[in-house]
C-alpha cells in the first residue's frame, strides 16, 4: 500500500509539473496575445508574432500532457472536473483554436490580416480568462456524488472564479511583457518596460486579493496556512514573494533586459507553490484525494517508465529549439 501512496504523490507532482510548465510557457504566448491590442503597428505585431512562432506549438503541448496525463493517472478526477468545468473548458478550447490558427493565417492574407490579429488577441484573452476561472472553480470545490459530478453547469461562475480569471490574465500579460523585454529592442522594448511596471503592480494586487479570499472559501485552507506548526512551512512563501518583488523592481529600474522575465517566472512558481500548499492532498478540493483518484498502480508504473526517460529528452530538445532561436528578434525589411 505504501508503494501505491508514493506513486500517487509522485504522479501528483508530475501532473503539477506539466501544468506549471504549461502555465509559464503558454502563459507568455497568451500574454503576448493579451497585450496585442496595445501594439497597433504592423511592424511591432510582426516582431511579436515572430518571437514565439517557432515555439508556441511545443508550449501548448504541455496542456495536452496535463490533460491526457490526468486522464491516465487520475481518471476519476478528470471525469469529475471536466464536466464541472464544462463551459470554461469549451471556452478555453475555442480560444486556443482562434489563437493557434492566427499564427499561420495572418501571413496568408493582406486583406484579412486584421481579422486574424483580432482572433489572436481575442483567443488569447478567452483562453486566459477561462483557465483562470477554471482554477478558481477548482479551488472553491465542486459537488460530487459517488463517482460523478453532481452540480449544475453554471456552478463554476462565482465572484471568486472571476477574480482568479482576471488575475491569471494579468499574470500572463506580465509574463508576455517580460518576454518582449527579453526578445526585442528599441521602442518596442521600451514600451514593454513601461507595461511591466503597471502589470507588476496589478499582479501584486491580484496575488494579495486571491491570497486573502482563499482562506474564506474553506476553513481547511485557513487552517493549512495559519495554524502552528504549518506556519513554519507557509510563512516563507509570502516572504519570498516580497524578495522577488524587490528584485523585479530593481531590474525594471536598471533596465536589465534578461531579468524581468525570469523573475516573473519565479513569482509564478511561488504563487503555484502556494496553490499546492492549499490543495494538497486533494485533487478535487475537499472531496477527492489523489489516492482516491489514482489509477491502478500498474498504469501509473507503466507511464512512469516513459516519463522518466522521455521528459528529460523532451526538455533537452525543447531547450535546443529555444537555443536555435535565441537572441533578440528583428522584423521589417533589411
Amino acid at each position: 500500500m505504501s508503494a501505491a501512496i508514493d506513486l500517487a504523490t509522485l504522479w501528483a507532482f508530475i501532473i503539477a509539473f506539466a501544468v506549471f510548465v504549461y502555465v509559464v510557457m503558454d502563459g507568455f504566448d497568451l500574454g503576448l496575445g493579451i497585450l496585442f491590442p496595445l501594439f497597433p503597428a504592423k511592424a511591432d505585431r510582426d516582431v511579436i508574432m515572430n518571437s514565439v512562432a517557432p515555439v508556441w506549438d511545443g508550449n501548448e503541448t504541455w496542456l495536452v500532457l496535463g490533460g491526457g496525463g490526468m486522464m491516465a493517472a487520475f481518471p476519476l478526477a478528470y471525469a469529475v472536473l471536466m464536466p464541472a468545468l464544462y463551459a470554461p473548458i469549451i471556452a478555453m478550447l475555442i480560444g486556443l483554436i482562434f489563437r493557434g490558427v492566427a499564427f499561420e493565417f495572418r501571413w496568408r492574407t493582406q486583406r484579412e490580416r486584421n481579422r486574424w490579429d483580432l482572433a489572436f488577441a481575442g483567443g488569447s484573452w478567452l483562453a486566459a480568462l477561462a483557465q483562470g476561472i477554471a482554477l478558481g472553480a477548482i479551488l472553491q470545490g465542486v459537488h460530487v456524488e459517488g463517482r460523478h459530478y453532481a452540480g449544475g453547469w453554471w456552478d463554476w461562475l462565482t465572484p471568486f472564479s472571476i477574480l482568479t480569471g482576471v488575475s491569471l490574465a494579468i499574470g500572463y500579460a506580465l509574463l508576455g511583457a517580460g518576454w518582449l523585454v527579453l526578445k526585442t529592442e528599441g521602442a518596442l522594448r521600451d514600451k514593454a518596460y513601461h507595461l511591466c511596471w503597471y502589470l507588476l503592480f496589478a499582479m501584486l494586487a491580484a496575488i494579495a486579493i486571491v491570497s486573502i479570499a482563499t482562506p474564506f472559501l474553506h476553513i481547511q485552507y485557513a487552517r493549512r496556512w495559519f495554524t502552528w506548526p504549518n506556519v513554519i512551512l507557509t510563512a516563507p512563501v509570502p516572504i519570498a514573494v516580497a524578495i522577488i518583488t524587490v528584485l523585479l523592481l530593481r531590474a525594471l529600474a536598471n533596465k536589465q533586459d534578461s531579468q524581468p522575465f525570469y523573475l516573473t517566472l519565479s513569482l509564478f512558481a511561488l504563487s503555484y507553490a502556494g496553490l499546492g500548499i492549499s490543495m494538497y492532498p486533494y485533487i478535487v478540493p475537499q472531496s477527492i484525494t489523489i489516492w482516491q483518484a489514482a489509477s491502478p498502480e500498474n498504469s501509473q508504473l507503466f507511464m512512469l517508465v516513459g516519463v522518466a526517460i522521455l521528459i528529460p529528452l523532451i526538455l533537452g530538445y525543447t531547450g535546443w529549439a529555444y537555443w536555435v532561436f535565441r537572441g533578440k528578434v528583428r522584423g521589417g525589411y533589411h
Partner: protein, 474 residues
C-alpha cells in the same frame, strides 16, 4: 422542457454528434499531414543527395502548405483530447487506466517530438544548416507516424479489447500491456490508416501537379511532383486494397456483427451468402430493399468458399444492431474510392509507358478530380468503423449510452453549436488559404521561410495576395 429535448435529442445523442463532428474535422488534417511530412522528408533527402534545385523549390512550396494544415491539425486535436473528459466522463473514468497511458505515451513520444522540431523545420534551415535541418524534418515525419501508432492502438483497443481486467470500481485495468497495445485489430488498422494517409497526400499532390500541367506542360516542379504522386497511386492503391481485405477478414473474426452491418446481412445464409453490391438497407424491416447482389460471392470473399454458411443480424438481439444503412453505405463509398484510385494508378502507368504522362489532358483531369478522394475515403472508412461497432464504446463491454457525462442536454447542445460555428468559420478560411497556396505553381527559387535575415527568430512565408514580404527580398 428545453429546445433540445423537444426535438427528441438527449445529451448522449448530442455528445455523439459532437464527437463525430469534431473528429471528422480533426482526421482530415492528420490524414494529410502524416503523408505530407514524409513527402517533405523525401523531397529534402533528394535535394541533399542530388543538389537539384527543383527539389528544394518543391520542399519550400509544400512546407508552407504543411505549416497551415499542421496548425489546424493541432488545434482540432486539442479539442479531441479534452472531449473524453467533458462529454464522456464515465468512459474516461472507466477506460482511463487502460487507454489513458496510451494517449499519454502519444503526447510524450509524438506530440512533443513534432512540436519540438517543427520550429526548426519551418524557420531554421539557415540557422542550423541543411543536415541538421533534414534531421528536424525527419523527426517531424517520424513524430506523425508515432502519433498514429498510439492513437490507433487506443482506438483499436476500444474495438477489440484485450489484455484487461475489471477492478472493484468497475474500471478497466491492464493485465498485460503488450496485449493491450497490440490488440487483435491494431496491426491491421495501423497499416491501413498509414497507407490511407500516404494515398491521401499523393492524390492531393497529384491533383496540384495536374492542375499546373494543364496550364503549362513544361513546368519543372509540377512535372516532378505529378510523377512522384502517380507512382505512389500506382503502387500503394493495390496494396491498400489488399490491406483492406485483410482488415475485413480480421474484423470478421473479432467483430462479426460489424461485418453483418457492412455487408447488409440482415438474414443468415446457411448455404452461402450473396455479395450485396447496392441496395437500400431498411433497419426497421430488417432487410435490404432493391438489392443488387451476386449469389455466394459474399461467402467466397469472406470465407474463401462459395457455400460457407454465414450468420446474419437475425441471430443478434436488436438492441445490439449497428446502424446498418450508415455502415453499409459508408463502406461502399470507401471501396469505390479505392477502386477509382487503383484505376488512376493503372491509367497513369499506361500513360507513363506511352510517354504521355505530362501530356495527357484526360489523365490530368482525372487526377484533379481525384484530389479529394483520399479525404472522402478516410472519412467514409472511419464512419464504417465507428458506426459498425455501435452501440458500444468498448466493444461488447461498455455501451455508448452508459459512457456519457451526467450533463444536461442544453450544455452539450450549446457547445455543439459553438463548435460547428467556429469550425466552419476557421477551417473554411484555412482551406481557402491552402487552395490559394496550391493555385500558384512552385517558382524557381521558391522562397523558403526566410531565416537568412540575421537574428530573426521566425519567418514569414509570402502572402499570396501579391505583396512580397521580406522572404523573397534579395
Amino acid at each position: 422542457m428545453s429546445w433540445a429535448n423537444s426535438w427528441g435529442l438527449n445529451a448522449v445523442d448530442l455528445a455523439r454528434a459532437q464527437f463525430a463532428f469534431t473528429m471528422s474535422f480533426h482526421i482530415v488534417f492528420p490524414a494529410f499531414s502524416i503523408g505530407l511530412a514524409s513527402y517533405l522528408a523525401v523531397l529534402e533527402a533528394r535535394w541533399l543527395l542530388t543538389g537539384r534545385e527543383v527539389f528544394l523549390n518543391l520542399f519550400n512550396y509544400w512546407l508552407k502548405i504543411f505549416s497551415v494544415a499542421f496548425g489546424m491539425g493541432v488545434v482540432s486535436g486539442i479539442v479531441m483530447s479534452y472531449q473524453f473528459g467533458t462529454n464522456w466522463s464515465v468512459f474516461a473514468d472507466k477506460t482511463g487506466p487502460v487507454i489513458g497511458p496510451l494517449m499519454a505515451y502519444e503526447v510524450l513520444t509524438a506530440f512533443f517530438l513534432e512540436a519540438g522540431f517543427l520550429g526548426v523545420m519551418l524557420f531554421g534551415l539557415e540557422r542550423v544548416g541543411p543536415k541538421l535541418h533534414f534531421f528536424a524534418t525527419a523527426m517531424v515525419a517520424v513524430g506523425t507516424l508515432i502519433s498514429a501508432f498510439w492513437i490507433l492502438s487506443a482506438n483499436s483497443w476500444m474495438q477489440t479489447p484485450a489484455g484487461y481486467a475489471v477492478n472493484a470500481d468497475g474500471q478497466f485495468v491492464a493485465a498485460d500491456w503488450l496485449k493491450v497495445i497490440f490488440n487483435p485489430s491494431f496491426p491491421y488498422r495501423l497499416v491501413h490508416m498509414v497507407l490511407a494517409a500516404y494515398l491521401t497526400t499523393a492524390l492531393v499532390v497529384g491533383a496540384v501537379g495536374a492542375f499546373h500541367l494543364l496550364r503549362d506542360q513544361h513546368l519543372a516542379g509540377p512535372r516532378v511532383m505529378f510523377s512522384m504522386a502517380m507512382w505512389m497511386a500506382t503502387l500503394v492503391a493495390p496494396i491498400q486494397i489488399l490491406a483492406g481485405d485483410q482488415h475485413g477478414l480480421n474484423t470478421l473474426e473479432y467483430q462479426p456483427v460489424k461485418i453483418m452491418g457492412m455487408e447488409g446481412h440482415y438474414q443468415s445464409h446457411p448455404d452461402g451468402a450473396p455479395l450485396i453490391l447496392f441496395g437500400l438497407p431498411d433497419q426497421r424491416e430488417g432487410k435490404v430493399k432493391y438489392a443488387l447482389e451476386i449469389p455466394r460471392m459474399g461467402s467466397l470473399i469472406l470465407k474463401h468458399s462459395p457455400d460457407a454458411p454465414m450468420a446474419g443480424l437475425d441471430t443478434v438481439p436488436r438492441e445490439n444492431w449497428p446502424p446498418v444503412p450508415v455502415t453499409f453505405w459508408s463502406f461502399r463509398i470507401m471501396v469505390g474510392m479505392g477502386l477509382l484510385m487503383f484505376g488512376l494508378g493503372l491509367f497513369s502507368l499506361w500513360c507513363r509507358w506511352r510517354g504521355t504522362l505530362f501530356q495527357s489532358r484526360l489523365l490530368h483531369l482525372f487526377a484533379m478530380a481525384m484530389g479529394p478522394a483520399g479525404f472522402i475515403a478516410v472519412l467514409a472508412g472511419w464512419i464504417t468503423t465507428e458506426t459498425g461497432r455501435q452501440p458500444f464504446t468498448v466493444y461488447g463491454l461498455l455501451r455508448t449510452a452508459e459512457s456519457a457525462s451526467p450533463l444536461a442536454a442544453p450544455a452539450v447542445g450549446f457547445s455543439l453549436i459553438a463548435f460547428v460555428i467556429v469550425y466552419f468559420a476557421v477551417f473554411a478560411a484555412g482551406v481557402i488559404y491552402l487552395l490559394r497556396l496550391m493555385a500558384q505553381p512552385p517558382h524557381p527559387g521558391e522562397a523558403g521561410p526566410p531565416s537568412h535575415i540575421p537574428a530573426r527568430a521566425a519567418g514569414i512565408t509570402p502572402a499570396v495576395e501579391g505583396i512580397a514580404p521580406e522572404g523573397i527580398a534579395p
